[in-house]
């Protein structure tokens, strides 16, 4: 066996005429936090569903912890934990009963079951609610319980499909704290999908996926370097003079196409003090914009990630209908 926990080669999935995933290839290292970033309908969930054996790939192959997702379904299933995009708890059972159910179907031995349940409930701050029916839980609590459940059988890989979708920012931050904490405690690989840029920043590596293709894959920093340096925007009392000075004295690259006096520099935060010191024209305002993954996506696709949200959602619904009811959330 090599060092990769997840290996994917030319994975394709079609739904009738619609090609949801068009041959993706990537590897995930042991212990890595790997993120799939892309708009809704890009094929993220379809890929995850293939990796966790819920969908059979139309073509290509994938292995998880060395086991083929088609031929060795059970071995794969034993080694993965899942947190789905939509809740998958039985809300008529208590938190404890949900965990018990999971422990039985994943063959967590009796002797360690109680201890592990306690640990995990403690980790997600639900110990005092263990015997309450899940129907009384808030969205964030349910998600936390699902994360605890996904870890109950000590999986090698934890798949998180949009783990924070629909949650408020505070809960979202909590969940990220748990995920980071988890990495420190356990030897676990985390594979997640998201369409939140801020969330993708937490990953060790990101694959940007659009229309079923991976269009870029690297660390968040390297991806951001792709789009160039920081952009500084200034407003002065005499913009024409300032522009001249910037070109001659600072030798910066003025971004002509923008509707402002904007230019690109390497280290924006170090450049600004110098600019204030040395620019003779009185400055009215300065703003610094560092490239985000949004810019990366914009550069690669010509669209903003949220641009086609409505479109993408419709596309995803279409795909998801085959797995879930049409009126599903």
């Amino acid at each position: 066996m090599n060092g990769y926990t997840v290996e994917v080669e030319g994975l394709v999935r079609k739904f009738g005429d619609l090609v949801a995933v068009k041959g993706v290839t990537f590897n995930v290292d042991r212990g890595e936090v790997f993120g799939f970033l892309g708009p809704n309908g890009a094929g993220k969930t379809t890929t995850i569903n293939m990796l966790c054996t819920l969908l059979t790939p139309t073509a290509g192959r994938a292995t998880v912890d060395g086991f083929d997702v088609v031929r060795h379904k059970r071995e794969v299933r034993q080694r993965i934990g899942l947190v789905f995009q939509d809740p998958s708890l039985d809300d008529r059972l208590t938190a404890n009963e949900n965990l018990d159910f999971h422990a039985v179907v994943y063959a967590v031995p009796h002797s360690i079951r109680e201890k592990r349940k306690r640990e995990l409930l403690e980790m997600v701050d639900l110990l005092d609610r263990a015997d309450d029916l899940v129907i009384t839980f808030s969205g964030g609590m349910k998600r936390r319980l699902e994360i605890a459940r996904g870890l109950l059988h000590h999986p090698r890989v934890l798949f998180l499909d949009e783990p924070t979708i629909g949650l408020d920012p505070q809960t979202r931050r909590y969940i990220w704290d748990y995920i980071k904490d988890l990495r420190k405690r356990e030897e676990i690989t985390i594979f997640l999908t998201t369409h939140y840029m801020e969330e993708a920043e937490h990953c060790d590596r990101i694959a940007i996926i659009d229309h079923g293709n991976i269009i870029a894959m690297d660390t968040p920093d390297n991806l951001k370097n792709m789009v160039g340096g920081d952009v500084i925007r200034i407003k002065t009392e005499d913009d024409a003079r300032a522009e001249e000075l910037l070109k001659e004295k600072f030798r910066v690259n003025i971004l002509e196409e923008r509707d402002c006096l904007c230019f690109e520099v390497e280290r924006g935060e170090e450049f600004i003090p110098r600019l204030i010191r040395e620019l003779d024209v009185p400055i009215q305002s300065i703003s610094l914009h560092r490239p985000t993954l949004d810019d990366v996506f914009l550069k690669l696709t010509g669209r903003e990630i949220r641009d086609d949200e409505a479109d993408g959602l419709a596309g995803m619904r279409q795909m998801v209908t085959r797995v879930r009811p049409p009126f599903a959330r």
């Binding site: 819920l54 059970r74 299933r77 708890l89 049409p326």
Partner: protein
């Protein structure tokens, strides 16, 4: 928890390192799945007070309203002193089992809608064990409902409190199990690939209503038009209701097969003296009379018990296979 699970856990200890190991214990994975799904199904049923009360109240309502109403009607139309409630009771028992069994499968659609099905489908337990767990779980709830309803048999309005009623009640249990297993399979087969919660009751009622009305649960299957008679013979539920009624009305003793009043008539007219007086007073011919008596009395059983059981078992095996197949195909 249960002994079954303890055993399963012994077979697979905590660490899963080699694929060979977990492959060899496929059966234990399946047992694990069946066990926990049945347990969950049961828990949910018990926790849902509306289902518990409704499941009990509905058959009582049928029995009280329909039974009394029909019994009065039968008297008006010259059925004589026919104990209609006694006749109808096994039919309502069949109805209870039918609806509880079939509609227990709606939990599959429910689970799909609320996402829980994914948690089950992505777990290492085989799919067939999930379907099997649903079938067994649904059957147990149907059996419980049936058993609750059987308590009513002991009331004086039905069969009365006697040892005889007890034996009969125990004798129908295996039949109820057989019926509920096959009917839950039917529900699972339909629900396995259905994604609409609204659609399931519509489809099921479309299937169940004719099945139920043609089964002879409410009225005797006699003197029907030819086409309808053929339909009643195709309806698998006919055989279930027939067997239930046979046992409840006659017991397991197949020799004591004659309806009470018919036997009485026969004994009566054996005496030539009585026969002569009867004819002289203008009574109809005994052979004609016995035909009339047969038509007026509500028949206990139309088919032999072995045929009933055979048809139910065959039907059950077919639906069971269908349910497993459909569930395996579902995405």
């Amino acid at each position: 928890m249960g002994a079954l699970e303890e055993k399963a856990v012994d077979l697979v200890s905590g660490e899963f390192t080699t694929p060979a190991r977990s492959k060899s214990s496929g059966l234990s994975w399946a047992m694990r799945g069946i066990y926990i799904i049945v347990l969950r199904e049961f828990r949910r049923f018990w926790r849902d007070r509306a289902r518990r009360i409704g499941g009990f109240a509905q058959p009582i309502m049928y029995l009280a309203l329909l039974g009394v109403g029909m019994e009065s009607a039968f008297k008006v139309f010259g059925g004589g002193d026919v104990p209609y409630i006694k006749f109808m009771y096994p039919g309502i028992l069949g109805l209870t089992v039918l609806f509880t069994s079939v509609f227990s499968a709606i939990s599959i659609i429910w689970d799909r809608e609320f996402g829980f099905l994914k948690e089950v489908l992505v777990s290492p337990v085989p799919r067939s064990s999930v379907a099997l767990g649903k079938i067994v779980g649904g059957s147990i709830t149907a059996l419980i409902q049936g058993a609750i309803f059987l308590v009513l048999a002991f009331t004086p309005w039905v069969y009365g409190f006697s040892l005889d009623t007890l034996w009969k009640s125990l004798a129908v249990m295996p039949l109820i199990i057989l019926m509920s297993l096959s009917l839950t399979s039917l529900g699972v087969a339909v629900a396995a690939r259905m994604t609409s919660m609204e659609g399931f009751p519509i489809v099921m009622n479309f299937l169940l209503m004719p099945m139920f009305f043609l089964s002879g649960a409410f009225f005797p299957l006699q003197g029907l038009p030819r086409w309808m008679e053929v339909l009643t013979k195709i309806d698998p539920l006919t055989y279930g209701v027939d067997a239930l009624r046979g046992i409840m009305l006659r017991g397991m003793n197949l020799a004591a097969g004659m309806p009470g009043n018919l036997a009485q008539f026969a004994a009566w007219f054996k005496d030539p003296e009585i026969l002569r007086i009867g004819l002289g007073k203008g009574y109809p011919d005994p052979s004609a009379l016995s035909t009339m008596a047969q038509q007026a009395s509500l028949p206990a059983q139309a088919y032999p018990l072995w045929l009933d059981v055979l048809v139910m078992a065959g039907f059950g095996a077919f639906l069971f296979a269908l349910a497993l197949w459909q569930f395996n195909r579902a995405e």
